[in-house]
């Protein structure tokens, strides 16, 4: 059972990244590979900050700022230098590997005896501190995004991925909007890095390799479920991304507990995403 509790926690921890991918993929139609790098960046900044004795919330701010910076870099390369968005993400992700290594000074930092986010609430035997913090974070993020996407600015943001000509005719600078969206998406991804590093107790330079696929999976699983409800309610979509993230981790945990060789985990992950992708392809979104 502990196995599944761990999967639930991971699912909640990665939900912030899922929400970030929801912004970049569903709203802007960009599969943003920067994610691999900004997730690690968030984690790396967290490890260095906490080891240096920073307050966890201050560390969080720096982690988010790192992710936002990475998103802005990708956005600028894509909109100003006219580089294909996928390629722009690959470039920034690659560059971030060196940046992350530079920040850590070594490939791996263990978090021992640090004041982490889990120590912020008074400790209690009966409660799972990690679960409470993760749930609280996810709740706050979903609420904040729900608010944002319903403001005038949020409506403009959602329209940008639909029809660029229409959005420009409405007086919106689509380039700035895209950069803002990628900054937001990668800031959210960095929050996952922040949470997971403290949950697993270390930061590692390779922790982000292929992580974007879990974000894509949560969004797509969420989308597949949303199709069943036939709804375009944004709150439901956001909640389903979180559900997708948890479901994805549970599926992986299930596969591992049923005796799957961990070496094949990424192969199974990729296949799973492909299956969901093909399933949601039917009745895909309107033009």
């Amino acid at each position: 059972m502990d196995f599944y509790t761990a999967a639930l926690l991971q699912g909640l921890g990665y939900a912030a990244m899922g929400l970030g991918i929801f912004i970049s993929l569903k709203i802007f139609n960009i599969p943003d590979i920067t994610t691999d790098g900004s997730y690690t960046l968030g984690g790396v900044i967290t490890a260095v900050g906490l080891v240096s004795g920073w307050h966890p919330l201050l560390t969080l701010l720096f982690a988010i700022a790192g992710g936002v910076g990475a998103g802005i870099a990708t956005g600028l390369i894509h909109t100003k230098l006219k580089v294909n968005s996928l390629l722009a993400g690959i470039l920034v992700m690659t560059a971030l590997y060196s940046v992350n290594l530079g920040i850590m000074g070594r490939p791996n930092i263990p978090l021992m005896n640090v004041n982490s986010i889990f120590e912020m609430l008074p400790a209690s035997e009966s409660m799972n501190m990690e679960l409470i913090i993760f749930l609280l974070t996810v709740f706050l993020l979903v609420a904040a995004l729900y608010y944002l996407l319903h403001t005038d600015f949020g409506i403009a943001m959602r329209a940008t991925g639909n029809s660029e000509r229409m959005v420009r005719a409405m007086g919106i600078n689509t380039g700035v909007m895209m950069i803002t969206g990628l900054a937001l998406a990668n800031g959210l991804t960095a929050i996952s890095g922040f949470l997971l590093v403290q949950y697993q107790g270390f930061a590692d330079i390779n922790m982000g390799i292929g992580i974007v696929i879990s974000g894509l999976a949560s969004v797509m699983i969420g989308e597949a479920i949303a199709k069943m409800f036939n709804s375009n309610n944004i709150l439901l979509q956001l909640i389903l991304v979180v559900a997708g993230s948890i479901l994805f981790r549970l599926i992986l945990a299930g596969a591992l507990s049923s005796g799957l060789n961990p070496n094949y985990l990424k192969l199974v992950t990729a296949s799973l995403v492909l299956v969901v992708l093909v399933l949601t392809k039917f009745k895909r979104s309107r033009s």
Binding site: T151, F153, M166, A169, M170, N173, N232
Partner: protein, 249 residues
């Protein structure tokens, strides 16, 4: 009011593919003008419209709207004065957004998009009243994604959106080219009504000579990037489709 002064533009300058799209165009469009721009493919009519909209910034010349020199402003900065309707009936609205969301954006076209809620009951009623004029029954579907509507319905909505927020200029680039004849006629009638009601300066690029004669109170015929012939308010009333078609041969 729009003034276009000595405007010229060359596509791919300095290459073997260089094309002169506009040569020294001078035009003045006044309030209440419904200017129809005619011309063969490649005559520069769309380039002229795009130069006014700011989609392309011409190599030379000036564009002045209501006394403001907008020559260096990009399309999204000119939306303060200009509303647009596109040839693709799906391009003027955002498919995944509800009718309400689309009209909210249109209602703040000339303003900045802030972090505040703009859709309240008052706005909903205002939108319901506005769309009921279209007689499409959309007032009961305000929360439905626009992508579920037909091309004709979406083009009608685009026109309505054009006048939601202080429009002064309406630019229409072959707005009915992708629509069936009956729908096309309804859309043109709607455009004409809105132009008159809001006293707009309208420019319509079209290949429909019938629409040109019916709705235009000025007709401009372009050839090789320049204004070749113009019919003003008086001569426009007498011109016939047969007369216009002769200029295409």
């Amino acid at each position: 009011m729009i003034t276009i002064k000595n405007t010229g533009h060359i596509f791919s300058p300095g290459t073997p593919n260089a094309t002169i799209a506009l040569r020294d165009v001078n035009l003045q469009l006044n309030k209440g003008d419904f200017v129809v721009v005619l011309g063969a493919n490649g005559s520069g009519k769309s380039t002229l419209l795009n130069a006014i909209a700011g989609v392309i910034i011409p190599d030379q010349g000036e564009v002045i709207i209501d006394g403001n020199d907008v020559s260096d402003l990009r399309d999204f900065q000119r939306s303060k004065w200009i509303a647009r309707v596109f040839q693709d009936p799906l391009a003027g609205t955002a498919a995944d957004l509800s009718i309400l969301d689309n009209l909210r954006l249109a209602s703040i076209r000339t303003q900045s998009k802030k972090l505040r809620f703009g859709i309240n009951d008052k706005f909903k009623n205002q939108v319901a009243d506005a769309v009921s004029v279209l007689l499409l029954g959309l007032e009961n579907k305000l929360n439905q994604p626009v992508g579920t509507l037909s091309g004709g319905q979406r083009q009608a909505l685009t026109l309505l959106m054009a006048v939601m927020d202080n429009a002064s200029v309406l630019l229409m680039d072959e707005p009915t080219a992708a629509l069936d004849p009956a729908t096309a006629a309804r859309i043109m009638q709607l455009a004409d009504d809105l132009v008159k009601k809001h006293n707009l300066t309208a420019m319509l690029v079209t290949h429909s000579l019938k629409d040109a004669v019916k709705y235009g109170n000025r007709i401009i015929l372009m050839k090789e990037g320049a204004v070749y012939k113009e019919w003003d308010k008086t001569t426009c009333k007498e011109v016939t489709v047969e007369e216009l078609i002769a200029y295409y041969e």
